[in-house]
């Protein structure tokens, strides 16, 4: 019974209003501030409403696992994240950042990575 009701509810969302896109830019950015930066940037392709909204999100949250694939070497993942991280601030336009979070996994303190991190911060 319950499953059937849930299924109906899901199906009926087909014509339901899009409550998320209807939020103000300010509230959408608030939602974005809880997403990792890579996903926040990718929301651009949801619809035109979302074009460039991520520019003003007041937080940057980077996680090496977003750039990792199983079986791939850490330094390759690192290059992917580095590329993302180098581009992000150039496109970002928030006046003030409330938070920056970096999650780098177990290699946090590898000496050869440190200069890159210094540049971002």
């Amino acid at each position: 019974m319950e499953a059937a009701a849930a299924k109906r509810a899901r199906a009926s969302r087909g014509s339901a209003p899009d409550r998320l896109s209807a939020l103000s830019n300010e509230l959408l950015c608030h939602v974005f501030s809880f997403l990792r930066s890579r996903q926040a940037v990718q929301t651009t392709i949801l619809s035109k409403r979302w074009l460039d909204l991520w520019h003003s999100v007041p937080a940057i949250d980077l996680d090496i696992t977003d750039f990792s694939e199983s079986g791939r070497r850490y330094d390759v993942n690192w290059e992917k994240m580095k590329n993302f991280t180098t581009n992000l601030p150039m496109e970002h336009s928030a006046q003030l950042l409330d938070a920056i979070r970096l999650r780098l996994g177990i290699f946090d303190i590898c000496d050869h990575l440190a200069p890159d991190v210094d540049v971002w911060v």
Binding site: R13, D18, L27, S33, I45, L46, S47, N83, A99, R101
Partner: protein, 186 residues
């Protein structure tokens, strides 16, 4: 800090009007009345704190014309639960939390509180929290929405929220190229 401020404001109003009441009555857009702890309302909502301090609280029900009864019931429920909740020590000592971030992960009861809401009720509550200047409730509800997006592909997100893709194929391709640094998945 905020707690002290809320209490101080509540104290002052006590002199002004409604002598010893420790609740305030709020009226939804559809005319339903709800009682809420005055202390919690003043502590959690900057707008209600201002109204209490300014003496513009109506004993017969303060009109909140922008908020429907379901959303207001959830606001009041949240305030009253908050008034009774004991601050969790786990929040302070959580090792994975980001120490300098202003946002603290939702507590267990806050998670349950937003998890039981319907899709529409969640968004109504976001708007009510925003209108009433309830920073914590806004954080908790927006965090819940972000969790509904996390780890999902654009197609899956469109499906969950019923977002219409109004880009042409060419436009999408152009964006993917411009933002290649965010999209590559090879």
């Amino acid at each position: 800090m905020e707690v002290d401020k809320g209490k101080g404001e509540a104290e002052e109003t006590r002199k002004v009007a409604e002598a010893d009441r420790d609740t305030v009555t709020l009226k939804s857009s559809d005319g339903k009345l709800f009682e809420v702890s005055k202390e919690a309302a003043a502590r959690l909502s900057t707008v209600l704190a201002g109204m209490i301090a300014g003496g513009s609280i109506d004993d017969n029900g303060t009109d909140l014309k922008q908020i429907g009864s379901e959303a207001l019931e959830n606001v009041v429920d949240y305030c009253n639960k908050h008034a009774n909740s004991i601050p969790s020590a786990a929040l302070i000592s959580s090792s994975i939390s980001f120490n300098t971030a202003p946002f603290k992960e939702p507590e267990e009861w806050e998670r349950k509180f937003v998890d039981r809401l319907s899709h529409d009720a969640l968004f109504d509550l976001v708007e009510a929290a925003n209108f009433l200047g309830m920073e914590r409730l806004l954080d908790v509800t927006c965090h819940k929405i972000s969790e509904m997006m996390k780890g999902k592909s654009p197609d899956q997100i469109r499906e969950v929220f019923n977002i219409k893709n109004d880009y042409t194929k060419e436009e999408l391709e152009e964006i993917r190229q411009e933002l290649a640094w965010a999209f590559y998945d090879d």
